[in-house]
């Protein structure tokens, strides 16, 4: 679950998973130890305080642009009760023994750490207060704190944290579950917009990213793998590559067969990356035949249609009597929906720096998921994981791609082979052709409406890529996927389309495609029922607070709340000019409730202009860092629109056709609408924002296109040829 995949267990199991991990975090050692070389006193694994009062707070998780290096330290700083201006943050290394699971995935950091990292801060504060009380010979209960200063009002004494830190580090660490937390009304950090801690370095071009890592004596590497995933090298002209000035080595790596591990290929190592690339151009590699070289998008599409007509081998859900309900329905609606493979296209291509010295490895990796990478490197190289030091480097975009660590094992292998530090950098083309794609999928839907326009039956035959009867990674659908549980007669059939395309989680895995299907088909049903789209959806959401098992259910009331909010803010129901329209959608994922309205104008030639998007959000009672939260939501919405408008990975002859931004376009500023965000603060604990704003965006767009043109788009990306004025 922690990889964000929806395969298997329900996404709502996050709550349970979070509970298990919470135990891990709480068990870390709070014992302080002032290092001999450090002037700052270490209160615990997260907090150090220097004599001048500067507080250093560790960020445990990988930073991929989600703002975690700012947000997690804010939680600690709040309860430590220091001035944010005193705080410096520092990136942790890969160190699960100290920090538990370190991952950027599943929008999990907020729900997992909201409670315990505030407790870590509060524990530090109580040690500081204990030190002051001991020093002054007063009771700790008589001491108060504010902005990094301890006060004893009765005697008029005060002391900055810096002057107390050494003594504080010798105080017994309190039990995290027993520390007292602040009254949220007194928060002065949580809820205040904070600039990302790395922003000053970003705007001045400081070397922050994996691609910028520089190690003395470092060589540069490029690695070419087969266009057909996993094919091995039949031959390569290594001598020609080595003849290029600057090239120091070129060699074949036999590799294995696991598509997420070290695959076969040819490495070229040089004194500059450009020289390595020039050498690579001369390799003239011949690839061996491979069993998957016949895979193609065209054959997948034909096969999916064929499977839809056969009896599905799996039936994950079958509520009520769908056949009888369809037979007695006043109206039935049938539609087939599909979506393509898409690529993560992180702007920073995959890369990693590794240094093999005396049988030990040091790795600098822009990864979202460090520990599985370390374990894979250990296993592949046959060395103990304890011989691998792993630094987590800021990622130039994550989006789920860097949950895989293929680049890490490649860099490690190449460094060991050449016996020198090596920076491996993929080309853009490598990156696009060796991704773990958002899986394609096909849904064959039928639903029934009664005379009052209520949905009485729903069936979905979902055809998804997979192997040997199991969906590919991130290609599954939970049996509770909305609108399951909201319609009495509900059937979900599942067929597996045999595929060996590498797939994996992409921002809001599963949801990013399923929302398009479900919210579009609901739009069709509302239209057939002659109902208002918002009213129809509110009726579908029913009148219960929560639907499904307690603690893991679907917060129907929360969704109704954001849907009403976004309808109001967008002026839903207003008159629209010809070929313009509003579209609405909602989706629950990653514990967040989102409803969105898009306004579009469709030109006579079919060109779509998104004019504005409104977002209603319920992610709990606090928005921890409003500056970061807003950025994540706006970016997620535009990311969803970018994919829906443009993106498709096509497979031909077993290989990816697209290669770069000329044939795989990303949204540019000229296409970016304003995105207006409205938060609905509820009584719930805060949850994450890296992902859940994205899924409603594509169907809000396509539903708006329908409103503007009457054309229902049932596959992505948007085909503007279908939208030309008749």
């Amino acid at each position: 679950m922690a990889d964000g995949s929806t395969t298997g267990a329900s996404r709502r199991d996050f709550l349970v998973g979070g509970g298990a991990s919470l135990g891990l975090v709480l068990s870390f050692s709070l014992a302080g130890s002032a290092g001999a070389a450090e002037t700052a006193a270490k209160l615990n694994s997260y907090v150090r305080i220097a004599p001048d009062g500067i507080v250093t707070i560790i960020n445990k998780n990988p930073e991929v642009g989600q703002g975690i290096k700012t947000m997690l330290p804010m939680l600690i700083a709040e309860e430590l009760d220091v001035d944010w201006a005193q705080v410096r943050t520092q990136q942790a290394d890969g160190d699960p023994a100290t920090y538990g699971r370190q991952i950027a995935g599943g929008s999990l950091a907020t729900p997992m750490h909201w409670d315990e990292l505030r407790r870590v801060g509060a524990a530090g504060r109580s040690m500081i207060v204990a030190a002051a009380a001991a020093k002054w010979g007063v009771s700790a209960a008589e001491c108060t704190t504010a902005l990094g200063v301890v006060y004893h009002k009765a005697s008029g004494r005060k002391a900055g944290y810096g002057t107390l830190a050494a003594l504080a580090s010798e105080q017994p660490a309190p039990t995290l579950s027993k520390v007292t937390l602040k009254d949220p009304a007194t928060y002065h950090i949580i809820g205040r917009p904070m600039i990302q801690v790395d922003t000053p370095a970003i705007v001045t071009g400081k070397p922050l990213f994996g691609i910028d890592v520089t190690v003395p004596g470092m060589l540069f590497a490029t690695y070419e793998k087969a266009p057909v995933f996993g094919a091995s090298v039949a031959s390569a002209d290594l001598a020609a590559a080595k003849a290029v000035k600057g090239v120091t080595d070129a060699f074949i790596i036999e590799g294995g067969t696991a598509l997420d591990g070290l695959l076969p290929g040819v490495a070229v190592v040089a004194t500059s990356w450009w020289a390595a690339r020039k050498g690579r151009e001369r390799l003239n590699i011949q690839w061996a035949d491979h069993p998957t070289s016949k895979q193609s998008t065209a054959s997948f599409e034909a096969e999916a249609v064929a499977l839809s007509k056969a009896t599905a081998p799996f039936r994950p859900r079958n509520d009520g009597d769908v056949d009888a309900a369809l037979k007695s329905a006043a109206k039935t609606v049938k539609a087939a929906y599909s979506y393509p493979f898409i690529s993560h296209a992180n702007l920073e291509p995959q890369n990693c720096t590794a240094s093999w010295v005396n049988g030990k490895l040091e790795i600098w990796a822009p990864t979202q998921n460090p520990e599985p990478g370390r374990q894979m490197v250990a296993k592949t190289l046959g060395i103990p994981a304890s011989d691998i030091a792993l630094h987590m480097i800021r990622c130039g975009g994550g989006f789920g791609r860097r949950l895989n660590n293929d680049y890490m094992v490649e860099a490690a292998w190449i460094s060991r082979k050449v016996g020198a530090p090596v920076k491996l950098l993929w080309t853009r083309e490598d990156d696009m052709r060796h991704d773990f794609y958002r899986p394609a999928g096909w849904h064959f839907l039928e639903a029934g409406l009664d005379a009052q326009g209520t949905v009485t039956a729903w069936k979905d035959h979902f055809v998804t890529p997979g192997e040997k009867g199991t969906p590919s990674r991130s290609a599954g659908m939970a049996s509770t996927e909305f609108p399951a549980l909201f319609i009495p007669n509900f059937r979900y059939d599942l067929s597996i389309l045999e595929s060996q395309i590498p797939t994996g989680p992409l921002r809001a895995p599963g949801s990013n495609a399923l929302s398009f299907v479900m919210q579009s088909f609901i739009d069709e049903l509302a239209h057939e029922a002659g109902a208002d789209q918002v009213a129809f959806r509110l009726k579908l959401l029913g009148d219960q607070k929560v639907v499904g098992p307690p603690m893991q259910g679907y917060g129907a009331e929360r969704m109704r709340g954001v849907l009403k909010l976004v309808a109001e803010k967008s002026g839903w129901g207003r008159a629209m000019a010809p070929r313009t329209g509003l579209g609405v959608s909602f989706h629950y994922s990653h514990l967040g409730y989102f409803a969105e309205v898009a306004e579009v104008a469709v030109a006579d030639d079919g060109t779509v202009k998104v004019k504005k998007v409104w977002v209603g959000v319920d992610v709990g009672r606090h928005i921890i860092n409003p500056a970061g939260a807003m950025n994540q939501i706006q970016g997620s919405v535009l990311d969803g629109l970018s994919g829906a408008l443009h993106q498709k990975i096509t497979i031909e002859n077993g290989a990816t056709v697209q290669s770069n931004f000329n044939d795989y376009p990303l949204m540019r500023i000229s296409e970016a609408p304003a995105v207006e965000v409205h938060f609905l603060l509820s009584e719930n604990s805060p949850t994450g924002l890296g992902e859940p704003a994205m899924p409603p965006a594509p169907p809000a767009l396509t539903n708006a296109i329908f409103a503007a043109t009457g054309v229902r788009l049932r596959s992505l990306p948007v085909d503007t040829d279908l939208l030309r004025k008749a």
Binding site: F209, I211, W274, L347, G396, G398, R428, I669, A672
Partner: protein
């Protein structure tokens, strides 16, 4: 061969073939790491630098084609008043998410404002469309350019 360049006001030289793209001379030979590699075909703008004040895609410029052109990168743009203003606006509005494209965005925005101190939305779209932001921070990029040019902007947070 040793090629002489002027980067951020300093005379430097690099021992590279003349057809090496400026981007790789900056990054691998000179250790100027602000300009980024994103696509290598002039599509994304992450490698944008200025040559004599004009924005260019450094991945597309063979270093030998520079002649006496003076190169300014993100590391040096803060020395110009416009560049400094743009960096400040980018900071005040916390434009970045991952930040990887932002050096290129700032270079493009600085060139825009140097030529057009009060750009309209359309001017911004035209000047900035060569720079992709995969995190899609476009709402804030537009706002930051407005802020840096002293125009009113929507509240971004």
């Amino acid at each position: 061969m040793a090629i002489k360049l002027n980067v951020n006001g300093k005379a430097v030289s690099a021992d590279v073939d003349g057809d090496t793209p400026l981007l790789w001379v900056l990054r691998d030979s000179l250790g100027v790491l602000g300009p980024k590699y994103g696509c290598g075909i002039g599509q994304c703008g992450a490698c944008t630098v200025h040559v004599d004040g004009s924005p260019v895609r450094s991945c597309q410029v063979p270093v030998e084609a520079l002649g006496k052109g003076k190169v300014t990168t993100i590391e040096g743009i803060g020395l110009s008043p416009v560049g400094k203003k743009v960096q400040k606006a980018w900071t005040d509005l916390d434009v970045a998410q991952c930040g990887y494209c932002q050096a290129g965005q700032i270079m493009a925005a600085t060139a825009l404002l140097a030529a057009n101190p009060k750009p309209t939305d359309d001017d911004i779209d035209t000047a900035m469309s060569g720079n992709i932001c995969r995190c899609a921070t476009y709402v804030r990029i537009r706002a930051a350019i407005k802020l840096a040019s002293g125009q009113s902007t929507d509240k971004v947070f």
